[in-house]
Every structure is written in C-alpha cells, then in structure tokens.
C-alpha cells in the first residue's frame, strides 16, 4: 500500500493539473490515472479482487470529479483492470512491457469510450477525432509511465517492497 496509495493519488491529481497547464488541442493529453492502473498492479501481489475493488473506486471518483458521469468510467476502468490482469499473465514486469501495456490501455480506453458515447447518441461518427484522441494521448502518458515505473521500481528495491514479477 505504501506504493499503491501515493501513485494512485498523484496520478489522479496530475490528470487535472496537467489538463490546466496544457492546451486541450495539443499532442500531450494526460491520462495518468490509466497509467497508474498498470503501475500499481504488481504491488497487489496477485490479490486480484482487492485490485479490482481499488480500480472501481478510482473509476467512480474519476466519474464524479472529472467527467460528471456516474459509473461509466467505473465500468471502463474495471474492464481495463481486467485487461491489465490478462496482459500481466503474458508479459513480465519490465519497462518495455509497461510501455506496451500503456499504449494498449490508452487505445482501448479511447475506443471503448467512443463506442459507448456513439451508441447512446452522445457523439456523431468522426473517425478522425477518435484517431486524434488516441495519438494525442500517447506521448505524454508514455513519458509518465517511464518516469513512474522507474521511480516506483527504485523505491520498491530500496525499501524491499514485494511486487509480483
């Protein structure tokens, strides 16, 4: 928990702070909370139920504080958490795999949100906008994933915090 709680809180707050510093039309859209889903997973040491509970709560907070939706991101984050669990089954825990998972999760999150909003009639079809939402979210979040992975890895080694490999 000494890694999980700070990473979750910092990432959650960073989403909002960075959105205020960076232009909304730039190539650097923050999705730090989604990056944190990947980073914190190994620190649950295969306790998947506890991990899913955490992610559902983070999703619910994201819904209420940032998007004014209710349970939409809670549902999406839980699906992403299941994807992280599945990907961790195939990929070992290292920087390269973390970056691959970050890219997969961001793409999945954008596509899933878009499909839901399209089906319920909130958005009209615009493939270019979907593409833009994906590519403009990748750069900043891959950088953040690299930094947070290296920092948490260093801390866990120094303080001998157990994490699943």
């Amino acid at each position: 928990m000494s890694i999980i709680i700070p990473v979750a809180i910092i990432s959650f707050l960073l989403d909002s702070i960075l959105s205020n510093l960076i232009n909304t039309n730039s190539m650097l859209l923050p999705l730090c909370t989604i990056v944190s889903l990947i980073i914190i997973y190994p620190y649950f040491n295969k306790n998947d139920i506890s991990y899913l509970k955490w992610i559902a709560i983070i999703g619910l907070l994201y819904d209420i504080a940032y998007t004014d939706t209710f349970l939409l991101n809670c549902f999406l984050f839980t699906i992403l958490a299941l994807m992280v669990k599945g990907l961790n089954f195939f990929l070992s825990n290292n920087l390269l795999n973390t970056l691959i998972m970050t890219a997969i999760l961001i793409i999945s999150y954008r596509i899933l949100t878009y499909i839901i909003l399209l089906i319920i009639g909130y958005l009209d079809w615009n493939g270019m906008l979907l593409l833009k939402s994906i590519y403009s979210s990748l750069i900043l979040n891959l950088i953040y994933a690299t930094l947070i992975f290296l920092i948490t890895d260093l801390i866990s080694r120094r303080h001998k915090i157990r994490k699943a490999e």
Partner: protein, 280 residues
C-alpha cells in the same frame, strides 16, 4: 457433460449481453447533460476538487508568474496602445450616456427585459479542462453557493464560450460552444450597417474551428467580418453577447439557403479565467 457446458456458455453470453444492454441504457441517462448531480456526487466532487486546488496552487502560481514576465516584456507597447485609447474614452463616455438613455426609452416601449446590461458578472477560475476529451466541458471554481445556476451563460473578453450545465456547491461544469452536440442551438444576429440579419447557430465544425449558422432570414449580402451576437431570444443567452465574426459564406446543396461560417476569437484551448453572467 459437453451438452451441459454448451448450455452454460449460452447462459453466460446471454447474461453478458443483458449486462451490456442495461449498462448502455443506464449510460444514456447518466452521460447526458440534463442530469443534475445528487448531493453525494456534489460532496465528493467538491472535496476532490478542493484537494486538487490546494495541490495545484504552487503550479498555477509558477504558471502565472511566467505569464506575467512575458506580459512585462510587452509593457511599453501596451502602454502606448492604451494611451491612444484613453484619448478616445471621453468621447465614448458621452456617447455611452446618450445611448443608455435611448436604450432605456426603447426598452420601455418594447417591454424588453433580457439585455446584457441587466446581468451581473461573476469571475471564476478554470480548475480543469475537458479531461474526458469527448465532453467539451471545463470545470470552474464557482458553484451554487456563489449563486451560479444551470444554464447561465459564460463569457470571456473575446466573447461567448458556453453555458453552465452542472453545479455543485463550490464548482460548476461549463459546456463549451465547441461541442458537436447538435442539440446546442442558439439564436444569433449578424450586424450589417443599417439592420440585423437573424439566424440559428446550429453546430461547430472542429476541422475549420468555426460555428455553422443556418436559417438566414434575409437575402441581403453579408460582408465577411460582420459581427455576430446573440439575440436574447430563448431563455439562456441575453442579447448582445459577441459570438464571433463571419468568416465564410456558402450555400446549401440546393443553392437555396445560406450557410455561414463564424469564427470566434476565443482561444478555447487555453481558458484560464471566465465570467459567468448571473441574472439579476
């Protein structure tokens, strides 16, 4: 054994489909802007954004300092520009007094109540900008405790930016005009030399970054650069708020009606401070 497994898989698929259907039905209700926040949501939102505001304050302080430094570099040019403007202020003041009298008498004659002069201004700071990407919203640090209500117009010095769609006690969500949501229609007027032409702002084109105005009620020639303002018809926007300037004029597929592209001078990508127009 195999048959039993097949039946089980069928049930699982059925349950998954049912859950997705219920979720989509539920999502239709929760995503749309008309849904008011319940007291628990309001409390959580206010608490989270309060913490975020405290954490973000040093970052915002540095950002403002950098902005100030940049502005200081242009100080002399701005001073000269303002000096020129001050010379004209006296003339404008007397003109304004004259026009105010005229306006009062006209309003009495026409029984008009909804003009811009009857709104109270409330300044607010933007806390976060469109985190969800698809929703075209910003969150501001003024809420129902400050007298903000749903559907109040929000402006910046360059013109209209949107309206309040959700309020909690100390924060509000503003739906921006850049939304592609087709239900967001506003009655507007285009100022010509001697008259106004009325139309309907029916959407936003994200590629050209222009509003689309349809339903033009007049065949007059509209010069490029004409100023577009709100008409005050409808309940939300008072008359006279600047929307933008005419950028391009085309006709529809049948060559019957005009379609006007209006360009706003607002930089929607970097909104920091906004003003809410409160009704008196």
């Amino acid at each position: 054994m195999k048959k039993r497994k097949k039946i089980e898989i069928k049930y699982i698929i059925l349950i998954v489909l049912l859950v997705i259907a219920i979720f989509l039905g539920f999502a239709t209700k929760i995503v749309h802007d008309e849904r008011p926040l319940n007291p628990i949501e309001k409390a959580i939102k206010d608490s989270v954004l309060f913490v975020q505001k405290i954490v973000a304050s040093p970052v915002n302080g540095i950002k403002n300092m950098m902005k100030e430094n940049q502005e200081k570099k242009d100080l002399y040019n701005k001073y000269k520009e303002l000096e020129e403007k001050v010379k004209k202020v006296n003339i404008l003041e007397s003109e304004k007094a004259e026009l105010k009298l005229e306006l009062e008498s006209m309003k009495k004659t026409l029984e008009l109540n909804k003009t811009l002069s009857e709104a109270e201004y409330l300044n607010a700071t933007v806390i976060n900008r469109d985190i969800g990407f698809w929703y075209d919203t910003i969150t501001i640090d003024k809420g129902s405790k400050n007298g903000v209500k749903e559907n109040m117009p929000v402006i910046v010095s360059e013109g209209l930016i949107g309206k309040v769609i959700k309020t909690s006690n100390f924060n509000s969500t503003v739906k921006l005009m850049t939304t592609t949501d087709s239900s967001n229609k506003i009655s507007i007027k285009i100022a010509l030399e001697d008259k106004y032409i009325y139309g309907l702002l029916s959407g936003y084109n994200p590629e050209n970054k222009t509003y689309i105005v349809e339903g033009i009620s007049d065949n007059s020639t509209i010069p490029i650069g004409s100023i577009v303002t709100t008409t005050g018809m409808g309940d939300t926007f008072p008359s006279g708020i600047i929307v933008g300037k005419v950028k391009n004029i085309t006709t529809d597929n049948f060559d019957l009606a005009k379609i006007i592209e209006v360009e706003s001078e607002v930089n929607f990508e970097a909104l920091d401070f906004v003003t809410i127009l409160k009704r008196k």
